[in-house]
Structures are given as C-alpha cells and as structure tokens.
C-alpha cells in the first residue's frame, strides 16, 4: 500500500478509544458517526476493521450512533459514509494493529517470525505465551496512541491485508425473522402514541377546535396537545389515535394564509424572482456577471439548444417517519432515524434554549429512502410534545398522508442547455443554466424554521427565502460543471424563490437533473455529426479512470445481443467530479401503449478501493432502480390548496414488474481512497434511459417522468 490518508474524522477523533471499545472479552465494539439507512454501512465498517486487524468479522459489533458516545462525523449523506467513517476506521485499525504488534513483540520478547496471529491473539510459537488486543487495550500504550492523519509507505509495511468480501450482513438474520427493531417498534411502559392533526397545506393558521370533539377526546382518554397552530392527539392505544385522527379532520378549522400555486411549475421556475450565480470550472458558484450566451455563424460549427424539465420528486420511504422522545429530569432522550443526528441535538436544544448536553439523540433504524425526509421533523415534533408530558415516552409516527404531503421534496427543475460542435467532432461551447428551488434545507440550530412544524408552533407564516450555497457542487449546481474538456463553458445556477412546495436534499441533490440533461444533450450534439456515444465521451476525457469505466461498459454491453425491438442508451458521470466514476447502459422496449420496459442494465463503477463489493453492487443497483423510478413514473401532484398525490396510487413508483437484468462490475483500485457509491448511479441512469428512449422514438423527450402523457405531449409538439 502506498501512503494512506486517514480522512477528516481523524482530525477531531485521533485516539483509539474514540473508535474502539475492548471492554467485552472477545468482542470488539466499534464506534462510528454514520448510520445504517439501508446501505449496510455497519457491515462494511466491520469488514474494513476485520480485514485490517484480523479480528474475525463475527467478533466485531458496530455501536449504534448515540450523541453521548459516538464521534460526530456530520450527516450520513453525500456518499461520504465509507469515504469518511470507513477511512477513519481503517486508519484507526492500522494504528491499532501496528501498535499492538510492536507491543506484543516487545512483551513476549520474540521476533516477528515466531508468532501465530489468530482472532486478535498473538501467540509465541515456542512458549505458547499469548497477548491479545484485549490485553493491549488495558495498557497506557493503547491510550497514548495518536492516529496519524497520514500513514506513509514505511509505516504501512506491516499492513498486508486480505480484502475478504464474503460476509453475512450484520442485520440480515434479524430482518428475515422480523426481529430487527425500527423506531416504529419501540415500546415503553405507559408510552403515549401520538399523531399530528395536519391542516390542508403549509400556510394554515388554527382557528377553532370543535368543543364537542374535545369532549369526545376527553371521554376516550385521548389527550389533545395544542401549541400555536400545532395540534396533536395522544393515547396509550395507538389504534384509538388513528381512529380519532380521521374524526379530527372534520372538527378542526383553519385559516389559509397563502395558497400553494396554480401556475405551471416550469413557468414559475423561469419567471419568479431568483438569485443567479456563475458556476466556474471546479464547480464553485460565484456572484459574478453572467456572460452572454454565444452564437455561432461559422458553417463548420453546428449548435443546438434544449430545455429539460423535471417534476417534484418525493423520498417516499415505505414506512412513514417516526420518533420516540422522553423528557426526564430536564433532559431529553430522542430516538430517531434522521441522517443528521448531531444537528438534531443542537436544533432541539436551541429550540428549548437549553444546554446541548441535556439532549441525547439515539439512532434507531427507520425505513429507507436516501435523503432528508420527515425523520428530522418528526423527532423535533416528538420532543416538543414530550416536553409537556415529563417522564413519559412519546412515540410519534407520521401517517402515509403526512409523509406524502409534508416531506421536503426534491425540487422541480429546468435545465436550459446550449452547445456547439465543430466538423472535427469537438465540442467548442457548452452552456447549461439550471433553475431550481433549494436542495439544502436540513434544519439546524440556526435554521429552526426548516422544521415544517416550526411555523405552526410560532404562528409565523411569513415566507422565507433560502440562500444559495456556493461551494463546489453544492445543491442545485452539483455536477453542473461537466467533467469533459469542452473548449468553453458557461454554467449558471438559478435559485428560484417563492415556489409552491417545500424542498430539500433528495439523493444526489441537483446532480440527477443536471446529469440527465447534460448526458442526454451530449448524445444529441454527437448525433449531429454521427459520432458514437462512447466516442464523444472518451474523446472529451483525459481522466484514465473515467475512460476505463466507459471502455469497460462498452465491452460488457457487446457480450449481450440486443433483444428484438429493443433500444440501448448509455451515460456516464463522476459524482461531484471528485467521487466515484460510473457508466450505465440500458436496454429497453417501448410498447404500443408507450409503456417503457427495462430489459437490461449494465453498471460499471470505480469507487476506489473496494470496501465491500456486494455492498457496492447493492447500492448501485438500488440507486439505479430508484432513479429509474424517478425517470419513468414519479411526479408530485398538487393544486392551489393541497398536495394531491397523498398515497401510492396517486404517486406511482417502480414495482417488481419493471426490474431489468443487471450486469454490474466494480473495478478495484486497491490502495486508493474509498469513494462512496450511494448516489453515483442516479444521473447516468436517468440519462441512459433518456438516450435509449430517444433512439426508440426517434425524438428526444425532454420532460421527466417519461409517462404516457408526457411522451404523447412531446411527440405532438
């Protein structure tokens, strides 16, 4: 192994005890600041630890994140779990092993060749004396170890690890037997079940609660909680709460302060007030004058322009968000499946104006979806309710309608793309203007109003404007900067204000829309000059790893003969231009009824050193499936009063009947940094489907999702 960089978490947590607990004989417990959201990070981290330390995978437990004991590694997001926590734990494992070996050799007074090393125990072949990691952990030497930020080549000489890959997921036995516990399954004595009584939309003030209804609640021992316009009902019996939630809807009256919007969302994206920033090569956004879009009169240069549109998308976890909170002796304990566990601790303490150390957040699994769904809101709401009923656990669950109607969606967006290609097939100009609402409204101690209930608690319905983020590849301009070496680019980020729906981080943020648009448009430019889709990409790339995944994809696709009446498309991206590389191929059929059937998907990914190959495959195939669902089916429907798509009939997602055969390849770059794979596949998936559909129809469809309605409208245009 060449030099190894320990990653950002080691800057703050550089002691072995920050990461390892050897207090149980024969068991290594590992701390991490990342949570399991379906990506099986705990199994991957245990595998990394096992491969380096040579302690058996089965002897390793990953401690569920709890803010009182775990390292703060930020949000579990942005494909950084293995990159950050994996690198930190690998660094801690390397430091542990090097120091343990030295300690054992010194204390046993033997040489390297005289040792037997098994399951974390070193044995002197001659004397049979042993020393284990568990012995070492009791010493001052263990306590004194400082994990280096960088390991140089020399210090890594003794680290010759096997990259074992076949494991049983830590959670799988409990999952298949129904014993895996989610927040939803928490049960404490005298626990109160809670549900929120929601108004029709975001901007409604509570006017009146029917007195007769209050009486009925009282008779049935149901507690009514009202603070400002925030209303909840609570009971020891969960079914009773559900039953009365329906009755409550007709007995609580609201005043609508503002309507949603009747305007076509794509018109609003273009016409509303916006902040416009220039995105430069490298992906950072600046408040600078936007250059005029060029035009080309040279007959040797052909130009083209297109507008791509994407609707609002929802996270839509199968289990609605939930949280359990208790307020006891002036302290809060909150069980949550939020991806922002530490931020929640500070937000909740800020809201109650108390010392953050009086708030402990404990991770408990929730239902997967990848992104900022209702998890943070529900934990905040459970805490607000718990404050009024000390010493009693409050288990608050959102309903299906809550989750569909109140979660922060992935924003609708527009991409206006313009490009020019010369007779040599060189792209000489590329302009991409992205228009969208924010993708970054996770709550924090300085942005409490990002909790959906905050405005109801405070009765402040004034509209607020989000501020554009400027760092490289943040939010709307993620992957707006093409990775290709186009001669000249003009990249514009538009954060549009006063749009109707609440939005925040959905898997990939703006990258899905930007890559789907640009990788579709790249094919359209190439086809002007009859250039093969692989060639146009490879001709504009210098990065060997990028070229490698594309060439690999080409070879993999050539092995399979196309099915009759089927069409293929490809696309590529490197997530954030700095994380994993991914090329995707799709083969599909379009029925006479304009149904799109996915036959085959090829995925080639380079995510640096393979931490856990089956985990990477599950992530990219799962990411493909979610992105295919966005591309083919998904669209939040609303009118001026409320969200219309409140259930799975009105918000269709992909089912088992349209899952392609997968051929997935992971390129191993042993010794290279880990690069996360949670999001890398989504953009290329949208574009590969778009490109295959374009071939099938002979026309580019420029509006997502590719429903029969949208395709028909585009074909008639």
């Amino acid at each position: 192994m060449k030099q190894f960089n320990s990653g950002p978490s080691i800057n703050t947590y550089n002691k072995l005890s920050h990461w390892f607990d050897f207090s149980n004989p024969g068991i290594l417990r590992v701390y991490s600041g990342k949570i399991d959201i379906g990506q099986h990070i705990s199994s991957t981290l245990a595998l990394i630890t096992s491969n380096i330390t040579e302690i058996k995978y089965d002897q390793i437990e990953i401690i569920k994140l709890s803010t009182d004991i775990s390292p703060d590694e930020g949000i579990t997001a942005s494909s950084l779990s293995v990159a950050n926590s994996g690198s930190a734990i690998k660094a801690a494992s390397i430091a542990l092993k090097i120091n343990f070996l030295n300690y054992a050799l010194e204390n046993l007074e033997i040489k390297n060749e005289d040792i037997l090393f098994e399951n974390g125990v070193i044995k002197d072949k001659n004397s049979n004396k042993t020393i284990s990691y568990w012995d070492f952990a009791k010493t001052d030497k263990f306590k004194d170890v400082i994990i280096p930020e960088i390991f140089d080549k020399n210090s890594l000489k003794k680290i010759n690890y096997q990259n074992n890959q076949k494991i049983e997921l830590k959670t799988i036995n409990e999952i298949v037997t129904g014993k895996y516990k989610y927040v939803h399954d928490i049960n404490f004595p005298k626990m109160l079940h809670a549900r929120i009584v929601r108004p029709p939309s975001y901007h409604c003030k509570l006017i009146k609660i029917n007195e007769e209804f209050k009486k009925r609640l009282f008779e049935n021992e149901i507690t009514l909680f009202v603070k400002g316009s925030f209303v909840a009902i609570l009971s020891l019996d969960e079914f009773l709460v559900i039953k009365f939630l329906e009755i409550a809807k007709n007995n609580i009256f609201w005043e609508e302060k503002h309507q949603l919007s009747n305007n076509n969302i794509f018109n609003s994206l273009e016409k509303h007030e916006k902040e416009t920033l220039l995105v430069k090569s490298g992906g950072e956004a600046f408040y600078e004058e936007i250059p005029e879009k060029k035009s080309f009169d040279d007959p040797k240069i052909k130009s083209l322009s297109t507008i791509f549109k994407k609707s609002y998308l929802m996270h839509g976890p199968i289990g609605p968000s939930a949280s359990c909170a208790i307020y006891n002796d002036n302290e809060f304990t909150v069980f949550s499946h939020s991806q922002s566990i530490f931020a929640l601790k500070y937000s909740i303490s800020k809201y109650f104006n108390i010392d953050p150390n009086l708030v402990t957040l404990k991770f408990m699994p929730g239902s997967g979806c990848y992104g900022h769904n209702g998890a943070d809101d529900v934990a905040f709401e459970a805490s607000v309710i718990a404050k009024s009923y000390p010493n009693q656990h409050i288990l608050l669950k959102w309903t299906r309608e809550d989750e569909h109607s109140w979660e922060p969606y992935g924003s609708a967006s527009l991409n206006k793309v313009f490009g020019a290609i010369n007779d040599d097939g060189e792209i000489v100009y590329w302009s991409n203007e992205a228009y969208s609402d924010t993708y970054l409204s996770r709550p924090s101690d300085v942005e409490l109003n990002n909790f959906t209930s905050y405005k109801f608690l405070t009765n402040n319905f004034a509209k607020t404007k989000s501020k554009p983020k400027t760092s490289a590849h943040m939010g709307i301009h993620r992957n707006l900067d093409p990775i290709y070496n186009f001669k000249e680019t003009r990249l514009v980020k538009n954060l549009v204000h006063d749009l109707p729906l609440r939005t925040s981080a959905l898997r990939t943020l703006g990258a899905f829309a930007n890559i789907t648009a640009s990788e579709s448009f790249l094919n359209d430019l190439a086809s002007i000059k009859n250039i093969d889709p692989f060639d146009i990409r490879i001709n504009h790339l210098d990065d060997e790893r990028a070229i490698d995944v594309l060439e690999n994809l080409k070879k993999k696709m050539e092995i399979f003969k196309s099915k009759e009446d089927s069409f293929r498309g490809i696309a590529f991206s490197r997530y954030k231009n700095s994380a994993a590389y991914c090329a995707v191929g799709v083969e599909l059929n379009v029925t006479d009824d304009l149904d799109i059937k996915l036959n085959h998907a090829w995925i080639v990914v380079d995510a640096g050193e393979i931490a856990y190959e089956d985990g990477i495959k599950a992530q990219v195939e799962g990411g493909f499936i979610q992105a295919a669902s966005w591309t083919l089916y998904e669209e939040v429907i609303f009118d001026s009063k409320e969200i219309i798509s409140k259930d799975w009939d009105s918000y269709k997602i992909i089912g088992f009947d349209n899952i392609p055969v997968f051929t997935t390849s992971v390129i191993d770059k042993k010794g290279s940094p880990y690069l996360g794979v949670g999001e890398v596949v989504a953009g290329p998936t949208g574009a590969a489907i778009s490109n295959a559909l374009c071939k099938a129809l002979g026309q580019r469809i420029k509006i997502l999702p590719f429903t029969k309605d949208n395709i028909t409208k585009e074909l008639l245009n």
């Binding site: 036995n173 129904g178 996270h315 289990g319 699994p365 979806c369 299906r400 259930d647 089912g655």
Partner: protein
C-alpha cells in the same frame, strides 16, 4: 368505546385479549401481541409491508377487522421458522443478503412463502403476481429476485 373479548391463534399460540371492537388486525398483532415484524406502511393496502398469512393465504393486515379472524390460523414473519430453523424463503433471503433497510422485507417473505407453500416451481409470472403490490424504496428488488430464483432451482 366498546371492548370485545377475543381469542387469536397466532403463530401456533392461542392468545386471549380484550380489544376495541373495531380494532384492525395489524394493531392487535403489533401493539397487543408485540409481534412488530409485521410493518405498517400505508394503511391503504397499497404497499404490502403488512402482509401476513391467514389460513395459509397471504392477506394485508392493515385494514382487516381483527374480530373477524378469531377462528383462523394467523402466521406472521415471527412464526415462519420451523423445527429446522428458518424456512426456505428466509434462508434464501439471508444467503443473498436480500434486503436494504428491510422495512418491506417481511411482507415480501410472507408473500413468497405463501407462493412456494402451494407451488414448488412457480413460473416467473406467478412470482411477479405474488410480488405485485409489494413496494420497496431502497431498490433491493434485484437481490430479492435473485434470492427467489434460487428457491426455484432447489
């Protein structure tokens, strides 16, 4: 509120409890009997996560009136294990690590168990029919399908 004394035969055990008369089966299973492996996803019979077996048939438990199922054999995910441990479907899902977050998994295992209990070699269409109405958001579909395929081969 009217309460009703009921008895349920669930996972081979007889349970006598007093429930609110119109309580739905899922709340009896999860809250009264503590069998939380059955999940509530939508309460609208649209997502499949609350699937259980009633007299060997797959049913969605979120909208069934509990009192109507007192004389039936009810099986939840917790009751699938037999004398040899996990049933074949559970074994296959375990062998293939066929889950991401796992929230939808127990409902799917229930449906596939019902299918293979009746037909050891179901066609692809029959498997699709069994999976119809089961939603998964993480995208575990491909691994789940591979696990199910392996059952056909055995």
């Amino acid at each position: 509120m009217n309460y009703l004394d009921c008895s349920f035969k669930i996972n081979g055990n007889l349970k006598k409890i007093s429930i609110i008369e119109d309580k739905t089966l899922i709340y009896v299973i999860r809250d009264e009997l503590g069998l939380t492996g059955t999940k509530l996803g939508c309460g609208l019979e649209q997502c499949g996560s609350c699937a259980i077996l009633i007299d060997g048939e797959k049913k969605l438990s979120c909208n069934l009136l509990a009192k109507d199922y007192q004389n039936c054999e009810i099986t939840t995910i917790e009751g699938l294990e037999n004398n040899d441990g996990l049933n074949n479907v559970q074994k296959a899902f375990k062998e293939f690590n066929a889950a991401q977050c796992g929230y939808c998994t127990s409902g799917i295992i229930i449906s596939i168990t019902a299918l293979f209990d009746k037909n050891k070699k179901p066609s692809s269409q029959e498997i699709q029919n069994a999976l119809n109405g089961h939603l998964c958001r993480c995208g575990s579909h491909s691994v789940v399908l591979n696990a199910i395929e392996s059952l056909k081969e055995n």
